[in-house]
Protein backbone atom coordinates (compact mmCIF):
# COMPACT_ATOMS: atom_id res chain seq x y z
CA UNK A 1 0.00 0.00 0.00
CA UNK A 2 2.75 2.47 0.90
CA UNK A 3 4.44 1.78 -2.45
CA UNK A 4 1.32 2.72 -4.35
CA UNK A 5 2.32 6.31 -5.08
CA UNK A 6 5.92 5.56 -6.15
CA UNK A 7 4.73 2.73 -8.38
CA UNK A 8 2.08 4.95 -9.94
CA UNK A 9 4.72 7.63 -10.56
CA UNK A 10 7.10 5.13 -12.15
CA UNK A 11 4.32 3.88 -14.42
CA UNK A 12 3.48 7.43 -15.52
CA UNK A 13 7.17 8.17 -16.11
CA UNK A 14 7.67 4.97 -18.12
CA UNK A 15 4.58 5.90 -20.14
CA UNK A 16 6.07 9.28 -21.02
CA UNK A 17 9.44 7.74 -21.87
CA UNK A 18 7.81 5.05 -24.03
CA UNK A 19 5.93 7.66 -26.04
CA UNK A 20 9.05 9.82 -26.22
CA UNK A 21 11.09 6.94 -27.60
CA UNK A 22 8.65 6.42 -30.45
CA UNK A 23 8.59 10.07 -31.48
CA UNK A 24 11.10 11.08 -34.10
CA UNK A 25 12.58 14.39 -33.00
CA UNK A 26 13.74 15.07 -36.54
CA UNK A 27 10.12 15.34 -37.64
CA UNK A 28 8.95 18.78 -36.67
CA UNK A 29 5.22 19.25 -37.35
CA UNK A 30 4.68 22.06 -39.84
CA UNK A 31 2.46 24.99 -38.89
CA UNK A 32 1.66 25.33 -42.59
CA UNK A 33 -0.56 22.26 -42.69
CA UNK A 34 -4.15 23.41 -43.14
CA UNK A 35 -3.08 26.71 -44.68
CA UNK A 36 -2.86 27.84 -48.30
CA UNK A 37 0.47 27.08 -49.90
CA UNK A 38 2.87 30.01 -49.64
CA UNK A 39 3.09 32.34 -52.61
CA UNK A 40 6.15 31.80 -54.74
CA UNK A 41 7.44 32.51 -58.19
CA UNK A 42 10.37 30.45 -59.41
CA UNK A 43 12.02 29.75 -62.74
CA UNK A 44 11.40 26.34 -64.27
CA UNK A 45 14.42 24.03 -64.33
CA UNK A 46 14.93 24.49 -68.05
CA UNK A 47 14.78 28.24 -67.50
CA UNK A 48 12.10 28.70 -70.15
CA UNK A 49 9.35 30.12 -67.93
CA UNK A 50 8.14 30.99 -64.45
CA UNK A 51 6.15 28.69 -62.19
CA UNK A 52 4.07 30.25 -59.43
CA UNK A 53 1.59 29.07 -56.82
CA UNK A 54 -1.41 30.36 -58.78
CA UNK A 55 -0.55 28.10 -61.72
CA UNK A 56 -0.60 25.05 -59.42
CA UNK A 57 -4.06 25.59 -57.98
CA UNK A 58 -7.08 23.69 -59.22
CA UNK A 59 -6.05 20.07 -58.84
CA UNK A 60 -4.64 17.98 -56.00
CA UNK A 61 -0.92 17.43 -56.30
CA UNK A 62 2.30 16.53 -54.57
CA UNK A 63 5.04 19.09 -54.25
CA UNK A 64 8.36 17.41 -53.73
CA UNK A 65 11.43 19.30 -52.59
CA UNK A 66 14.50 17.44 -53.83
CA UNK A 67 18.11 17.97 -54.85
CA UNK A 68 20.71 16.04 -56.81
CA UNK A 69 23.04 16.15 -53.79
CA UNK A 70 20.39 14.59 -51.58
CA UNK A 71 21.06 10.94 -50.79
CA UNK A 72 17.65 10.14 -49.21
CA UNK A 73 15.93 11.52 -52.33
CA UNK A 74 17.18 8.43 -54.16
CA UNK A 75 15.48 6.24 -51.56
CA UNK A 76 12.03 7.52 -52.43
CA UNK A 77 12.79 7.90 -56.12
CA UNK A 78 11.54 4.45 -57.26
CA UNK A 79 8.21 5.15 -55.55
CA UNK A 80 8.04 8.59 -57.15
CA UNK A 81 8.63 7.00 -60.56
CA UNK A 82 5.83 4.52 -59.92
CA UNK A 83 3.47 7.31 -58.91
CA UNK A 84 4.47 9.42 -61.89
CA UNK A 85 3.32 6.64 -64.18
CA UNK A 86 -0.21 6.98 -62.83
CA UNK A 87 -2.65 9.38 -64.43
CA UNK A 88 -4.28 10.41 -61.14
CA UNK A 89 -1.11 11.62 -59.41
CA UNK A 90 0.59 14.90 -60.29
CA UNK A 91 4.02 15.58 -58.86
CA UNK A 92 5.63 18.98 -59.04
CA UNK A 93 9.31 19.03 -58.16
CA UNK A 94 11.08 21.95 -56.56
CA UNK A 95 14.80 21.62 -57.03
CA UNK A 96 16.41 22.91 -53.84
CA UNK A 97 19.81 24.62 -53.59
CA UNK A 98 21.12 22.84 -56.60
CA UNK A 99 22.70 23.70 -59.91
CA UNK A 100 20.72 23.34 -63.11
CA UNK A 101 23.36 21.10 -64.69
CA UNK A 102 23.57 18.76 -61.68
CA UNK A 103 19.79 18.53 -61.43
CA UNK A 104 19.38 17.74 -65.12
CA UNK A 105 22.14 15.13 -64.99
CA UNK A 106 20.48 13.49 -62.00
CA UNK A 107 17.12 13.35 -63.79
CA UNK A 108 18.69 11.95 -66.94
CA UNK A 109 20.39 9.24 -64.93
CA UNK A 110 17.61 8.22 -62.55
CA UNK A 111 14.46 9.24 -64.40
CA UNK A 112 12.16 12.23 -64.10
CA UNK A 113 8.98 11.71 -62.06
CA UNK A 114 7.95 15.37 -62.18
CA UNK A 115 5.31 16.94 -64.36
CA UNK A 116 6.85 20.32 -63.72
CA UNK A 117 10.04 21.38 -62.01
CA UNK A 118 10.76 24.73 -60.43
CA UNK A 119 14.18 25.76 -59.30
CA UNK A 120 14.84 27.26 -55.87
CA UNK A 121 18.56 27.94 -56.08
CA UNK A 122 18.89 30.07 -52.97
CA UNK A 123 16.34 28.18 -50.91
CA UNK A 124 14.34 31.39 -50.46
CA UNK A 125 11.02 29.79 -51.38
CA UNK A 126 12.04 26.83 -49.23
CA UNK A 127 12.15 29.17 -46.25
CA UNK A 128 8.53 30.17 -46.86
CA UNK A 129 7.58 26.52 -47.19
CA UNK A 130 9.33 25.74 -43.90
CA UNK A 131 11.68 23.31 -45.60
CA UNK A 132 14.59 22.28 -43.40
CA UNK A 133 15.90 19.27 -45.26
CA UNK A 134 15.28 17.33 -48.44
CA UNK A 135 13.28 15.43 -49.40
CA UNK A 136 10.06 16.94 -48.13
CA UNK A 137 6.76 16.33 -49.83
CA UNK A 138 3.63 18.44 -49.46
CA UNK A 139 0.15 17.21 -50.30
CA UNK A 140 -1.84 20.05 -51.85
CA UNK A 141 -5.59 19.89 -52.33
CA UNK A 142 -7.52 21.29 -55.30
CA UNK A 143 -8.01 24.57 -53.45
CA UNK A 144 -4.28 25.05 -53.11
CA UNK A 145 -4.09 24.31 -49.38
CA UNK A 146 -1.43 22.17 -47.75
CA UNK A 147 -3.10 19.12 -46.24
CA UNK A 148 -0.05 17.11 -45.23
CA UNK A 149 3.70 17.31 -45.06
CA UNK A 150 5.87 14.26 -45.45
CA UNK A 151 9.29 14.88 -43.90
CA UNK A 152 12.12 12.73 -45.24
CA UNK A 153 11.85 10.07 -47.91
CA UNK A 154 8.34 8.78 -48.54
CA UNK A 155 8.07 5.04 -48.02
CA UNK A 156 5.41 2.83 -49.58
CA UNK A 157 3.87 2.64 -46.12
CA UNK A 158 3.76 6.46 -45.81
CA UNK A 159 2.19 6.63 -49.23
CA UNK A 160 -0.49 4.07 -48.44
CA UNK A 161 -1.42 5.26 -44.97
CA UNK A 162 -0.86 9.02 -44.97
CA UNK A 163 -0.36 10.48 -48.40
CA UNK A 164 -2.73 8.68 -50.79
CA UNK A 165 -5.85 9.12 -48.59
CA UNK A 166 -5.17 12.84 -48.26
CA UNK A 167 -4.50 13.20 -51.96
CA UNK A 168 -7.83 11.48 -52.54
CA UNK A 169 -6.55 8.61 -54.67
CA UNK A 170 -6.40 4.86 -54.15
CA UNK A 171 -3.13 3.69 -52.65
Amino acid sequence: MRYLIPIALVIVLVGFLAVGLKLDPRKVPSPLVGKPMPAFSLPSLDGSRTIDDAALRGRPLLINYWASWCRPCLEEHPLMMQLAARSDVNIVGINYKDSRADAQRWLARHGNPFGEIAQDVEGAAGLDWGVYGVPETFVIDAGGSIVYKQIGPMTVHDWQTEVAPRLGVRP
Binding site: S30, K97, L127
Partner: protein, 147 residues
Protein backbone atom coordinates in the same frame (compact mmCIF):
# COMPACT_ATOMS: atom_id res chain seq x y z
CA UNK B 1 50.08 33.63 -57.04
CA UNK B 2 51.54 30.61 -55.27
CA UNK B 3 49.26 27.80 -54.32
CA UNK B 4 49.69 28.57 -50.64
CA UNK B 5 48.92 32.23 -51.17
CA UNK B 6 45.81 31.26 -53.08
CA UNK B 7 44.51 28.95 -50.37
CA UNK B 8 45.25 31.57 -47.71
CA UNK B 9 43.21 34.05 -49.69
CA UNK B 10 40.40 31.53 -50.03
CA UNK B 11 40.36 30.82 -46.30
CA UNK B 12 40.33 34.55 -45.58
CA UNK B 13 37.46 34.90 -48.01
CA UNK B 14 35.46 32.17 -46.31
CA UNK B 15 36.14 33.69 -42.92
CA UNK B 16 34.99 37.10 -44.09
CA UNK B 17 31.90 35.56 -45.64
CA UNK B 18 31.05 34.07 -42.28
CA UNK B 19 31.62 37.35 -40.47
CA UNK B 20 29.89 39.86 -42.75
CA UNK B 21 26.44 39.15 -41.39
CA UNK B 22 27.50 40.60 -38.04
CA UNK B 23 29.51 43.53 -39.34
CA UNK B 24 26.89 45.43 -41.26
CA UNK B 25 24.73 46.26 -38.23
CA UNK B 26 24.66 49.21 -35.82
CA UNK B 27 25.65 48.35 -32.22
CA UNK B 28 22.05 48.41 -31.00
CA UNK B 29 20.90 46.25 -33.95
CA UNK B 30 23.89 44.02 -33.35
CA UNK B 31 22.70 43.39 -29.77
CA UNK B 32 19.21 42.50 -31.02
CA UNK B 33 20.70 40.23 -33.66
CA UNK B 34 22.74 38.37 -31.04
CA UNK B 35 19.76 38.01 -28.73
CA UNK B 36 17.49 36.75 -31.55
CA UNK B 37 19.87 34.21 -33.02
CA UNK B 38 20.34 32.74 -29.55
CA UNK B 39 16.57 32.45 -29.05
CA UNK B 40 16.03 30.53 -32.28
CA UNK B 41 16.60 26.83 -32.45
CA UNK B 42 18.21 25.19 -35.45
CA UNK B 43 16.01 22.55 -37.09
CA UNK B 44 18.88 20.60 -38.54
CA UNK B 45 21.14 20.21 -35.49
CA UNK B 46 18.34 20.37 -33.06
CA UNK B 47 20.13 21.03 -29.82
CA UNK B 48 21.87 24.14 -31.05
CA UNK B 49 20.62 27.65 -31.57
CA UNK B 50 21.01 29.11 -35.03
CA UNK B 51 23.84 31.20 -33.57
CA UNK B 52 25.86 28.07 -32.78
CA UNK B 53 24.95 25.88 -35.71
CA UNK B 54 27.00 25.64 -38.87
CA UNK B 55 24.18 24.07 -40.84
CA UNK B 56 23.36 25.68 -44.14
CA UNK B 57 19.81 26.38 -43.01
CA UNK B 58 21.01 28.06 -39.80
CA UNK B 59 23.11 30.33 -41.97
CA UNK B 60 20.06 31.21 -44.08
CA UNK B 61 18.01 31.92 -40.98
CA UNK B 62 20.74 34.14 -39.49
CA UNK B 63 20.82 36.01 -42.77
CA UNK B 64 17.05 36.35 -42.59
CA UNK B 65 17.25 37.77 -39.04
CA UNK B 66 19.88 40.27 -40.16
CA UNK B 67 17.98 41.51 -43.22
CA UNK B 68 14.76 41.79 -41.24
CA UNK B 69 16.48 43.83 -38.52
CA UNK B 70 17.87 46.08 -41.24
CA UNK B 71 14.40 46.38 -42.72
CA UNK B 72 13.18 47.69 -39.36
CA UNK B 73 11.14 44.70 -38.22
CA UNK B 74 10.57 44.29 -34.49
CA UNK B 75 11.90 41.32 -32.52
CA UNK B 76 8.38 39.94 -32.16
CA UNK B 77 7.75 40.22 -35.91
CA UNK B 78 10.95 38.31 -36.62
CA UNK B 79 10.11 35.57 -34.11
CA UNK B 80 6.60 35.34 -35.60
CA UNK B 81 8.09 35.07 -39.09
CA UNK B 82 10.12 32.07 -37.92
CA UNK B 83 7.35 30.32 -36.00
CA UNK B 84 4.86 30.86 -38.85
CA UNK B 85 7.15 28.77 -41.03
CA UNK B 86 8.80 26.33 -38.68
CA UNK B 87 6.38 26.17 -35.76
CA UNK B 88 6.92 26.81 -32.06
CA UNK B 89 9.75 24.30 -32.26
CA UNK B 90 12.15 27.03 -33.41
CA UNK B 91 11.46 29.13 -30.33
CA UNK B 92 13.57 28.17 -27.34
CA UNK B 93 10.93 29.92 -25.28
CA UNK B 94 7.59 28.64 -26.60
CA UNK B 95 4.45 30.73 -26.00
CA UNK B 96 2.07 29.82 -23.20
CA UNK B 97 -1.00 28.31 -24.84
CA UNK B 98 -3.23 25.28 -24.50
CA UNK B 99 -0.86 23.00 -26.40
CA UNK B 100 2.14 23.97 -24.27
CA UNK B 101 0.44 24.22 -20.88
CA UNK B 102 1.91 20.89 -19.69
CA UNK B 103 5.36 22.15 -20.61
CA UNK B 104 4.96 25.31 -18.55
CA UNK B 105 2.98 24.03 -15.58
CA UNK B 106 4.23 20.41 -15.42
CA UNK B 107 7.51 21.04 -13.57
CA UNK B 108 5.74 23.07 -10.87
CA UNK B 109 3.09 20.38 -10.46
CA UNK B 110 5.81 17.75 -10.06
CA UNK B 111 7.58 19.96 -7.52
CA UNK B 112 4.33 20.37 -5.55
CA UNK B 113 3.73 16.63 -5.67
CA UNK B 114 7.27 15.94 -4.46
CA UNK B 115 6.86 18.45 -1.62
CA UNK B 116 3.60 16.78 -0.61
CA UNK B 117 5.17 13.32 -0.59
CA UNK B 118 8.15 14.59 1.42
CA UNK B 119 5.83 16.23 3.93
CA UNK B 120 3.72 13.09 4.32
CA UNK B 121 6.63 10.73 4.75
CA UNK B 122 8.22 13.19 7.21
CA UNK B 123 5.07 13.13 9.30
CA UNK B 124 5.00 9.35 9.23
CA UNK B 125 8.58 9.06 10.59
CA UNK B 126 7.88 11.61 13.30
CA UNK B 127 4.87 9.60 14.47
CA UNK B 128 6.66 6.27 14.58
CA UNK B 129 7.98 6.42 18.19
CA UNK B 130 8.75 2.94 19.55
CA UNK B 131 5.58 1.40 20.99
CA UNK B 132 5.28 0.03 24.55
CA UNK B 133 6.22 -3.66 23.86
CA UNK B 134 9.17 -2.40 21.79
CA UNK B 135 10.32 -0.19 24.67
CA UNK B 136 10.20 -3.18 27.00
CA UNK B 137 12.20 -5.34 24.60
CA UNK B 138 14.71 -2.58 24.05
CA UNK B 139 15.29 -2.19 27.78
CA UNK B 140 15.87 -5.97 28.19
CA UNK B 141 18.32 -6.08 25.31
CA UNK B 142 20.26 -3.13 26.68
CA UNK B 143 20.40 -4.70 30.14
CA UNK B 144 21.73 -7.95 28.72
CA UNK B 145 24.59 -6.15 26.99
CA UNK B 146 25.54 -3.88 29.91
CA UNK B 147 24.67 -5.74 33.11
Amino acid sequence: MTRMGLSAAMIAGLWMGAMTSAWALEPEQQARYQSLVHQLRCLVCQNQSIAESNADLANDLREQVRTQIEAGRSDQEILDYMSDRYGDFVLYKPPLERKTIVLWVGPFLILLLAAFIAWRSGRRTAKSEPSAPDQERLRRLLERENP
